[in-house]
Symmetry: C2
């Protein structure tokens, strides 16, 4: 049921033809739209990002938005790439890949925390925007020392992003934004207790039973670090003391 336009090509924002010299100079820009949309999503959730709302936020009529964007998904892509622009990618490749990747992971997680609506946008919906490309370039630079195959590097990028997203998703689930956090926690608790009382799910009951563990959710940052470090170490070929591993690049083309 997706619209099949007759224009064939140039379906992405990043492949739009450059504006010709004629005609009035546009009063707005894609970047302005992205900023306004992000401001809306940050304060009122992604559902508040309506074409009408975005248009009003930049002081334009709804129909005018479509001079800058083909569809609402384009707005979401602009938002995602704008958010990807919040990374600081200046430091060069400092030898050990895991260190650099972990630092990058912290930035990604921070962005997810700052813009929780990113979790509602399907990942990699379209072509990578300029900031996403810079992110990829940075990761590839960090991985340039390893002898992973090209395919393996791209896969590692995908898995890396997916894992951080999974972490952020867990955090978001657990915190359940807003005022009703207490009510939600209570609802979940009562529901699970009832389930556990059903007799089935003994292991689940065992996990839920007992006093709440003292290591609160506040100490999650080290968990993130440890898990990610281990996973990266498992996926990257050892630089020295090379145990034979897969995913290597063949010595010659």
């Amino acid at each position: 049921m997706t619209k099949e336009s007759t224009t064939g090509a140039s379906r992405s924002i990043w492949t739009r033809p450059a504006r010709s010299a004629r005609g009035p100079v546009p009063e707005h820009s894609a970047a302005e739209i992205a900023r306004a949309a992000i401001r809306l999503a940050d304060s009122h959730g992604l559902s508040a990002v309506t074409m009408r709302a975005v248009a009003a936020a930049i002081g334009a009529a709804p129909a005018s938005l479509y001079r800058y964007v083909n569809t609402r998904s384009d707005v979401l892509e602009l938002m995602a790439d704008q958010a990807a622009g919040e990374y600081t990618l200046d430091e060069p490749n400092t030898g050990e890949p895991v260190t650099g990747l972990l630092a990058l992971a912290h930035q990604v997680l921070a962005v997810y925390r700052r813009h929780p609506w990113l979790l509602e946008i399907p990942p990699a919906a379209g072509l990578p925007g300029p900031n996403a490309l810079a992110y990829m370039e940075h990761m590839l630079a960090t991985l340039s020392g390893t002898d992973l195959s090209r395919h393996a590097k791209l896969e590692l990028i995908g898995l890396f992003g997916g894992m951080i997203r999974a972490f952020a998703q867990m955090e978001a689930d657990q915190q359940r934004a807003g005022q009703d956090a207490a009510q939600w926690q209570e609802l979940v608790a009562s529901y699970l207790i009832e389930v556990a009382a059903g007799g089935q799910h003994p292991h689940l009951a065992a996990v839920l039973a007992g006093p709440p563990e003292d290591d609160d959710a506040l100490a999650q940052e080290p968990i993130f670090d440890r898990a990610l470090t281990r996973i990266l170490a498992a996926l990257l070929p050892a630089q020295e003391s090379g145990t034979p591993q897969d995913g290597r690049q063949p010595p010659a083309g």
Copy 2:
């Protein structure tokens, strides 16, 4: 802009009050709705899962759906849990956790391949349904041998699901369902080549350059296995030959 109902509680399908004895016996059921919705999504994508379409599929009027469901999200939750019911969870705990988890991972990936629309549904949107609970119970049973803390086990469940989802997402991105796969591939290729020609992104250019590697996407299953095995091995505490690791459970309460 989410609706704030005044009914306070029982907001999830799984916490709905049981139907009272009075009144006509319902002509349909939540399971029937889930089946019809899945059939629609399988053949025409998640966007085809309209309240009207689902209602028509079960031979009912649109308004009648709301006797079984509070909102459209409920339908999506029903679909997700129904899909989770496709797992085969019979085999007991056979000692080595990684083996059992890998087998389960294969089932999850298969379900993602069978129902690609699952990737469009936000993960863990609400309470876990009965099949999701069975899945959790199965994982906890598989992990019962390990000495992970309760918290660590739940986190592992979340990360496990997130990683498989990331894998499935990569596959789906790469295949771009449908007839326009060729066009899309071409568009992506031309776009990335243009980007690489820009001079920036040298590492990206290096990855894209050269002949396409001979290991086609068909040989991805072993990659999935290897990566996941390594990651699980990294996250699970070693059963024997115990290198000191974190996430253990303290010996005494």
